[in-house]
């Protein structure tokens, strides 16, 4: 998919953004002072200790949670507009396939809701998507017949059927074994290259972050905030790297140091 001409330079722009939850104990700030620009077409990974607000940040971008302070812009407009324009797709940790629908029907679900027909935009043929996620021939299978890795492939195909500008992935491979995860990591990069979609990928795996991200946003908890942003574009030309190389080892080691600091909360709010 060629980059759409109308796309703004920053797919996502967060300025002093904060998200709060009303709890029994009063207002709880899940994340605050978030300043983050994500370039259109780039691959950004969010990493940090659990509870630091990674999912919250994705939900803010997806317009599932409101911005309590600061501003959030998606495709140069408020998140709500991007959601209504179906510019954003979400992949969850549990594949969230509807168990009563076949693979084919799950992938076409996004085309059956949310005024898709009225938008008059083209979608990607399901056959082509099945090929893209290497699930050809399984269109009639029911979700319970598939392995965890296959279910995530289908969930990714479903997210791409609307040809979204932005793909948000919340720990999509956290429940999978390491070998499956590594092969799916490669697939995600291939799909990212092929589609030109902006990807924001949440993980708590150092290796996954180091392998996937052009930039890695390290977050810290209490309150949820950005601790550091590590640019890997120099270290990984073309965003390709061999997992067994010395360069990859150096990247993960550097990332580990920053992450450990974030875990210890040494980085000031």
């Amino acid at each position: 998919m060629p980059a759409r001409s109308s796309r703004p330079p920053n797919a996502i722009a967060l300025r002093d953004a904060a998200v709060t939850f009303a709890t029994d104990a009063g207002l709880f700030t899940a994340c605050q002072n978030i300043n983050l620009d994500i370039e259109t077409g780039s691959f950004v990974v969010l990493i940090g200790p659990s509870g630091c607000g990674k999912s919250t940040l994705l939900r803010l971008v997806a317009d599932l949670l409101p911005c309590a302070a600061g501003t959030a812009e998606v495709n140069g407009a408020p998140p709500e507009a991007a959601r209504k324009a179906r510019a954003v797709s979400f992949v969850f940790q549990d594949s969230t396939l509807l168990p009563w629908r076949s693979v084919m029907d799950n992938i076409s679900l996004p085309l059956q809701v949310g005024r898709w027909a009225a938008l008059g935009r083209g979608h990607r043929p399901v056959k082509e998507l099945l090929e893209l996620v290497r699930m050809s021939g399984r269109e009639a299978a029911m979700p319970h017949e598939l392995s965890g890795g296959m279910r995530q492939r289908v969930a990714i195909a479903r997210a791409l059927v609307t040809q979204p500008d932005i793909l948000l992935m919340d720990e999509p491979f956290a429940a999978l074994d390491e070998i499956t995860r590594e092969s799916l990591n490669e697939e995600v990069l291939r799909i990212w290259r092929e589609t030109g979609t902006t990807v924001v990928f949440v993980t708590h795996s150092l290796e996954e972050a180091a392998y996937l991200g052009q930039r890695v946003v390290v977050m810290a908890a209490n309150p949820g905030r950005i601790a550091d942003i590590i640019d890997l574009r120099q270290a990984k030309p073309d965003n390709r790297i061999d997992r067994s190389s010395q360069a990859f080892f150096e990247i993960t080691t550097g990332l580990r140091r920053v992450l450990e600091k974030a875990y210890r909360g040494e980085i000031a709010a």
Binding site: R86, F90, T96, L98, W100, L109, V113, G114, R115, M142
Partner: protein, 254 residues
Amino acid sequence: MSMLKPLPRKRNLTWLWPLAGGLSLLLLWSGIIVLGEVRPFIAPAPWDVAAEIWKNRVLLAQNFWPTLLEAVAGFICGNLAAISVAVIFVHFHTVQKMYLPIAVLFNTIPVIALAPILILIFGINITPKIIIASLVCFFPTLVNMIRGLEAYTSSEMELMRVMSASRLEIFLRLRLPRSLPFLFSALRISCTSCVIGAIVGEWIGSTMGIGSLIIQATFNYRSGLLYAAICMSSALALSLFAIVIASEKKFLRW
């Protein structure tokens, strides 16, 4: 040295067990009647009941159809009403908070007490029996359906919201399919209890139906006919149950 042989495929004859159980109870029943020399008008032997069913087949059939009609009409009305109310309740929580406790309260009234009231209002005709059968179905389906319509996961709801799905789309494509297993477990209950509802309605005031046949047979000491009528009502409930199970198999293949 051990050889790995494929396990022989077990033939699906599980229905033989309850059949064997039923036969053993029939045998016990026969034994008690014969050895205890129980007089026929106190309790008949199984073969007496079978003979009675055959002898009274026309009478039984005449009384079978009204009960079937009342039970099925009550089943349909009661469940449709319960499903509609559940749909309203899950979409308007204030309405649910106002009226669900009242439904719970109403459910504590015994059907047997409600029947005379309904007959006073509607007269001795088919209407009060259908209403009683509906009322018996209503509550279990209402409670199950409310739970079923809320039985989606949070990520499923978030998926629908990211796709900007409307309330109607969320209902049709997520909540309704999610509720089906709950609905069917309620239907399994109500398809047998609607028969009880119809029969209770017939007890209070009717000249037709299995219920009135039971009353007449009891007052005339015709225990063979009484047992035959009971067999008819069980057969009716069982066939409704079989229909529900069959449609569950058809609709819930996942």
